[in-house]
Point group: D2
Chain length 225, copies 4
Amino acid sequence: MKLPILIINFKAYGEAAGRRAVDIAKAAERVSRELGVNVAVAPSHLELALVAQSVGIPVYAQGADVESPGAYTAHVAVDNVKEAGASGIILNHSEAPLRLNDLARLVARARAAGLDVVVCAPDPKTSLAAAALGPHAVAVEPPELIGTGRAVSKYKPETVVETVELVKRHFPDVAVITGAGIESGEDVEAALRLGTRGVLLASAAVKAKDHYAKILELARPLAGR
Amino acid sequence: MKLPILIINFKAYGEAAGRRAVDIAKAAERVSRELGVNVAVAPSHLELALVAQSVGIPVYAQGADVESPGAYTAHVAVDNVKEAGASGIILNHSEAPLRLNDLARLVARARAAGLDVVVCAPDPKTSLAAAALGPHAVAVEPPELIGTGRAVSKYKPETVVETVELVKRHFPDVAVITGAGIESGEDVEAALRLGTRGVLLASAAVKAKDHYAKILELARPLAGR
Amino acid sequence: MKLPILIINFKAYGEAAGRRAVDIAKAAERVSRELGVNVAVAPSHLELALVAQSVGIPVYAQGADVESPGAYTAHVAVDNVKEAGASGIILNHSEAPLRLNDLARLVARARAAGLDVVVCAPDPKTSLAAAALGPHAVAVEPPELIGTGRAVSKYKPETVVETVELVKRHFPDVAVITGAGIESGEDVEAALRLGTRGVLLASAAVKAKDHYAKILELARPLAGR
Amino acid sequence: MKLPILIINFKAYGEAAGRRAVDIAKAAERVSRELGVNVAVAPSHLELALVAQSVGIPVYAQGADVESPGAYTAHVAVDNVKEAGASGIILNHSEAPLRLNDLARLVARARAAGLDVVVCAPDPKTSLAAAALGPHAVAVEPPELIGTGRAVSKYKPETVVETVELVKRHFPDVAVITGAGIESGEDVEAALRLGTRGVLLASAAVKAKDHYAKILELARPLAGR
């Protein structure tokens, strides 16, 4: 997993449904190339293979349900995520929380499959538990800030700082990223100054009128770090 | 929903992952055109948009989690299924069972979105409850036969007959299809003779060495009905 | 199941925790005896056996997870509900929604175990599906009214009437009861006038200062029906 | 939480349903008094309050769903577990696995409520994550051994040793206990020799013909430690 990183989560937003997923991914790709920073996109499951064959930047799955392919109607297997062209995966997003035991197995499998693995958690202690499972990064996101436009890096900096400290002390190989409420380049800058190595965000980029311009703003603070 | 119908469920099989999903869908399309029968494919979520833009036959989603687009990381919204190019949806497959209350709302939304709606159920009484929700079709599939190669139309014909009878008596607008364990054209023929209007199957087609030949065999009994 | 019935759901209210569960159950028992009406109590799982050995009126479980006893830590089996002294069970309450397929099996098992079976549903169509499974009664409760003090019998009478009509037409052996937002004897009276055969309520009784007086008010409209 | 400890999980076994739960708890109480060792019982939710008022030894809940009392039909709140008379709680048993984020909140609440908190986990790494959440103890139990009679302390000693080591290194305040497949006093002895501070078991005690005699055998190795 190349750090620092900007991950754009398309969630199940209508603004990123169907062909629009490819358009936003292409805007992100252009920014990545121009700034020389690592920008990954996480489209809905429905467009994962389509987006993956359309752009050269990392494509992350928003989650997975089981480890191996098989008779799992309507479920997503880690190995198939890889097969569909993704190079990373987000697990345990607060909108798709996983059982601890499943999460442990999915992290292990995703690493074995060569995927970048980001595990989300709502607070420092849960982030520490997530880090214990050995992902590449934990993304600390207080759920009460997600989608509010009140950036965690400004409104709950102590949450970010405490997570960075706790994770570094026990599991120094695991990076900490953050994201809830990130709206602007300034918020991203603040997040990096608090010691995180990247940002996971959604609506700010997906719902922007001009995707290219907004992603450019959001990604710029990562350049040169 | 055009009847009779053959629906091929790709599940999360590795044999239908990535580009292979498109290949199987194209084989199904060829059979559909040649025989003039309705063959639908239900790829994994991961390849839904990709398959939908690659073939002209109906593409069904294997399921959905919520009704409308929004901030639902790793979830699939009914409206986005439509946006991704699908024309139908399978709900409550025994491998992805839904809460009754959610199922009721998803069926209503999928119908409103103009999708063909198939609800699966394990036995006659549960099929009757599913039919009460107003889908286009119920698919009765005893879970203990799914994936066994022992066709419900041969090993549990009474389950099929009882379902057809119960559903017809109370909700005559809802078609009954079936599927568990269907392996051959002969099994499909038997299912139709029992009064069903179609077949939902998976491994027989997906794991076949020659997809075109096997789907041709499975679809042939529908021709002219 | 003796009709008409007043069912008092203790939920996980602190006001009905520990010994207080027994106190409320005894108040209900006194009302039942004095008015000669059927009043059932549904304590939390935690106090089920304790309440069942303390009173002579019907005790209902608030739900169950599996059918038979076994190695199911933290789960409740239908047969053990009976063994703990209960004579009825509420399934699919909107706060504990069940998968259709599980619900179908739990209803069948609970009936086989000789329990009274009440299945909750949020609207007429879902109530019809619930009735198709063969419980003794369905309880139609629009979730948006539960706990609001705005009685379904006043604010959504058409929901109640439509449910009574639909269920009677297809499954005349299944009684319809209702409940959301019921606060007063007047609300209960209105519910019965709409054609229901009982009421399921919670906070009005459990949070009352004088349990006996409030339950007496709520049960009185059932006397003589 | 008093260590070492023997915890007897009644699961949803028919052998521990209804009044039988009290009988087994009384046998455990007698052993506890005679040997002077800490023996706790974890009855089904259905008998929790009944057992808690019948014996003087620690009574543990088999789990909980939410933190605070409220409108949660068929769910168990941590605070109500305390109110029902329990002094401890088992969380995340492999038969009742919890989402990481919920588990983190339930552990915190249970500690705040003054309950002994045991979190189960299937392997060393997941145990480490569980320990990060700050319970009194983690119980490492490979699910494939649960209920088999093949004791983890004999068949997977390396799992136990690795867990003890990992947890001690990072979170030395958290005790490690174990249990899967424990059948005899000898198995308990082996578990303690591997560095654990207690044993969590179920069928060996619950399904014994003579509860007192079997629990005496199982608890004896804890005496004097």
